[in-house]
């Protein structure tokens, strides 16, 4: 299905003069401020203004506000945030928890780490408001272990917030108590999956749990838990301050609000661009100065390596949850990795599969064994030793892993293979027939991880 087909695409966002994206810094607007990570800087730019307003109303009204705003989770799945909060049972006598998923590791995704470095207090204020809304006395921010500077900044922000009376007992005289712990991971991509993250936070191997029960019923320590992404929670103070109508004045009807788009790869000016949901890659590329050295775009991911690849025919797909799904992929984390015509698709897919094999947690057979076999076949193909039968085996194995694995990692591993065969099968055929030379030599396979 293409952007020009009959799929029900929304109109998307109008371009700026010159064709660029209409930039709407909301989440990123404080990033350029001097010492933006400090409490003093944050407070000078509306920081901790939303908190007293939130504490002045019934917690349940904040859940209604999030529902009205239409905010959808920014971690990739796009689940409506207010609805997720409303799933927590009330009056159940169990402690409730908020766990922030800051385990950013999806290839291409690079928004949460700079967010936590630049504006950690917005995350902390968002945590406090969210915990009040869901009546949680304890919050853990689970940050990827390798993101040391982000850990440092968020830790400092939590300390500053406690010293200022925004954390601890009886916050701002509201009677609400809250403690936040900054928790570092230890290098496992799978912990980005919310139930694996919970197991990891409980001091176990980070392996996914069977769902149901969902975390809203039995999450951290088997208690009702909300797990939200950094960008989601950081959106909360702005929504409390501006209201749902203001928030909905950006984005599309079903995907409201601004979004941080992360452009990387063969782009003249890669970086973070915040624009309304529904902005297109064509518009973002204009803002980013186009493709590097004018070499044309060959393929891109709308939201990380786990989302089916797109081609130049998808440049005008509005990048919102529903529009990208209608065009055959997933919005994911709006991690727009752009690859130019010099890049071999089978090579790129092989590298991604090495990643999925390395990060497969080993819990379920289709993913554990399947990723291993896919990698071995892909190594043969890219080094020039593949056969036509290998290509059938690849697609057959990938199709059998997708939908049959315990969690989404198995689906994600199959995705680059299935989507690249859809658009670039000829490149694989040329490799196995010898029409094109191998794209790697034996030396590169030795170092394969």
């Amino acid at each position: 299905m293409s952007a020009s087909g009959s799929s029900p695409l929304s109109a998307g966002q109008p371009a700026q003069e010159g064709g660029g994206a209409a930039l709407t810094p909301v989440l990123t607007r404080r990033w350029s401020a001097p010492s933006s990570w400090t409490l003093a800087s944050y407070r000078s730019l509306d920081g901790y203004q939303a908190l007293p307003q939130a504490l002045a109303v019934e917690p349940g009204r904040l859940v209604e506000l999030m529902k009205a705003s239409g905010l959808r989770g920014r971690g990739g799945a796009g689940f409506p945030t207010g609805m997720k909060w409303s799933f927590l049972p009330q009056g159940d006598g169990k402690p409730h928890y908020l766990v922030v998923n800051a385990d950013e590791g999806e290839p291409g995704t690079c928004k949460d780490v700079p967010y936590m470095m630049a504006d950690p207090h917005a995350l902390v204020e968002g945590c406090i408001i969210t915990c009040y809304a869901i009546r949680a006395p304890f919050c853990a921010i689970y940050i990827r272990g390798e993101a040391l500077h982000a850990i440092r900044r968020v830790t400092a922000a939590v300390r500053e917030a406690r010293e200022a009376g925004f954390l601890g007992r009886d916050i701002l005289g509201s009677g609400f108590d809250l403690e936040i712990v900054v928790h570092a991971g230890a290098g496992a991509y799978i912990c980005g999956e919310e139930t694996a993250l919970l197991d990891s936070l409980e001091g176990r191997r980070g392996q996914p749990r069977l769902k149901p029960p969902f975390p809203a019923v039995a999450g951290l320590y088997a208690s009702p838990t909300v797990v939200n992404n950094v960008e989601t929670i950081a959106s909360v103070p702005a929504i409390v301050l501006g209201g749902s109508d203001w928030y909905r004045s950006m984005g599309t009807e079903k995907s409201p609000g601004p979004k941080i788009y992360s452009l990387s790869g063969h782009v003249t000016r890669p970086g973070q661009y915040e624009a309304p949901m529904g902005t297109t890659l064509r518009q973002l590329l204009v803002s980013a100065g186009g493709m590097l050295d004018g070499i044309p775009l060959k393929f891109f991911t709308p939201g990380g390596s786990s989302t089916p690849i797109f081609t130049p025919e998808h440049l005008d797909v509005p990048l919102s949850f529903d529009d990208v799904a209608a065009a055959g992929s997933m919005l994911g984390t709006t991690a727009l990795m752009c690859f130019n015509e010099t890049v071999s698709v089978p090579w790129a897919v092989w590298k991604w599969l090495e990643f999925y094999k390395h990060e497969s947690c080993g819990k379920c057979t289709p993913c554990r064994e399947g990723t291993g076999w896919l990698v071995q076949i892909l190594r043969r193909v890219v080094s020039g030793a593949g056969t036509p039968e290998d290509l059938d085996t690849l697609t057959d194995a990938a199709a059998n892993i997708a939908g049959r694995s315990f969690c989404a990692l198995g689906d994600a591993a199959a995705t680059p293979i299935l989507s690249s065969f859809k658009y670039f099968r000829g490149e694989y055929e040329d490799l196995v027939s010898g029409r094109t030379p191998p794209v790697i030599d034996a030396r590169q396979l030795v170092g394969a991880h």
Binding site: S32, G60, A147, R152, A186, G187, E274, K351
Partner: protein, 263 residues
């Protein structure tokens, strides 16, 4: 899973007299006795969580900050602190890439070789450093822990794709690298110098970084103020400012919706 596979490729194992059985994780015995300071830190970590076992990942980072890797003695220390068996702790330690089972260099150099960084030069950077140091992936040049020793590893996506190709030294970011710049950097590390990262705190060493990751800020002023505002991070903001673009203004007043009526 991941580390069990890696174990067969680690270079330095032979030098430490470790026997290996397929699939059975083994940790080196060092005889280390963890001191009062470390025991106090361990107790503090346990106190941060509603349930003690949640402190296990930080505790493993803590023992790495003492020894530069996770030893059998480190495993036993964590187990004793939390009332777990050594088997329960080692099952966790072997799952996560950041827990090293061989002594690490003074510095850990992690080169992103995932697809995007690789296509921009990450593979070439890793190859160049591997050749220069004379070690394979996960190998250490020099005596582990001694000044100027360097462990090289290929890293998965480091969440800095707009800065690619990237590498980290002791988990601080060195952005937009090339084989030449990475070689200069590693040569400087071997000479005992500590070139400043592009984003992050002034460089210390692997063990100090592990102490911070465990949850103990080493230098809450200077380290926190280390740079982060890169050109790439601020690009959208800078363009919006230059072209006079902004989000719609917030209204002066709005009502937070009432609670829904009970049916």
């Amino acid at each position: 899973m991941t580390q069990a596979h890696q174990a067969h490729r680690s270079g330095p194992a032979e030098g430490h007299g470790v026997s290996r059985r397929l699939g059975v994780p083994e940790f080196l015995r060092t005889g280390t006795v963890f001191d009062e300071v470390t025991r106090a830190r361990a107790a503090e970590l346990v106190g941060r969580y509603p349930q003690s076992r949640s402190a296990l990942l930080p505790l493993l980072h803590l023992v790495q900050s003492v020894e530069g890797f996770v030893s059998q003695d480190g495993i036993d220390f964590c187990a004793g602190t939390l009332g777990l068996t050594a088997a329960e702790v080692s099952a966790v330690a072997t799952f996560y890439t950041m827990y090293k089972r061989q002594p690490c260099g003074e510095h850990l150099v992690s080169v992103c070789t995932n697809t995007l960084c690789a296509v921009l030069g990450g593979d070439a950077i890793h190859r160049t450093l591997s050749d220069h140091l004379g070690v394979a992936d996960n190998g250490t040049a020099g005596v582990p822990g001694a000044p100027g020793s360097v462990t090289l590893e290929s890293a998965e996506c480091l969440a800095a794709c707009d800065h690619g190709p990237v590498l980290q030294v002791d988990y601080e970011f060195y952005d937009r690298q090339s084989p030449d710049s990475a070689l200069d950097l590693v040569t400087a590390l071997q000479r005992g110098e500590r070139p400043a990262p592009t984003r992050g705190a002034p460089l210390t060493d692997f063990r100090t970084a592990e102490l911070e990751i465990a949850g103990f800020p080493v230098d809450p002023v200077t380290a926190v103020a280390g740079p982060s505002a890169s050109v790439e991070t601020l690009r959208g903001n800078e363009l919006a400012e230059r072209t006079g673009q902004s989000a719609p203004p917030m209204p002066d007043h709005h009502e937070i919706p009432p609670l829904p009526e009970k049916k």
